[in-house]
Subunit: 134 residues, 2 copies
């Protein structure tokens, strides 16, 4: 069912510092910051040859990553995102096997403009797992 | 400098359970377990179209991931591994920029039989970062 690893998301307090580390120290191609107020984050994309790293910085008072950063002040990997062909078919299969879909179970439009859903970390090896319709 | 994301490593207490989740629930291609006593882990590889997930289970009394799992009993992402062309050149550039290389700074032969080194998480956005010579 799952296909490509679409991205690894790393939450940080300071996107400019993360950009310096990945662009200047690690020599990667890093995008300009992209504010996504509807998701409560500003995002920077690190374009690797085979996948992306996405750095997330809190945006606004109700950012969904603020509490995570309070627990992980140095930053930390926040989630993995896998591509699926059909998000509703994936959801139905997962729910049928007892996996918990966060946020009511209906796919929402994610940060890339495609339908996504998030799976409960306790059901997936302690890892917050996003599925995105490719 | 960094190239492909070689793998995402997830530490778990129970490789068989992780295999069931990724093979049966997520429908991915999962290898048989590979004991690596010289690294203190048993590894299962999840082969995605563009990269790998590597599940690590402690092997032996002195496994380097045992304390990590004590802190993360559900499992958790342990590190990211990026490929580099020349591990010594990468090390020299990183040390020159003030980054800390773990374990004395000399590359060692890693789990894939290639030279690797690990970078201090506090210098890399709270993420334990492995470099592997491709």
């Amino acid at each position: 069912m799952i296909g490509r690893l679409n991205h690894v998301a790393i939450a940080v307090r300071d996107l400019a510092a993360a950009t310096r580390i990945y662009r200047d120290t690690l020599g990667a191609e890093v995008s300009a910051p992209v504010p996504q107020p509807e998701h409560g984050v500003t995002v920077v994309f690190v374009n690797l040859p085979n996948t992306k790293i996405e750095f997330l910085e809190p945006l606004g008072e109700n950012s969904p990553i603020r509490a995570f950063l309070d627990r992980n002040p140095d930053g930390a990997i926040h989630h993995l995102c896998y591509e699926v062909e059909d998000i509703h078919a994936a959801r139905d299969k997962l729910v049928g096997q007892g996996a918990r879909v966060l946020g009511g179970g209906e796919p929402k439009i994610g940060a890339h403009g495609k339908p996504v859903l998030f799976l409960h970390p306790k059901d997936f090896c302690g890892t917050l797992t996003e599925l995105e319709q490719a």
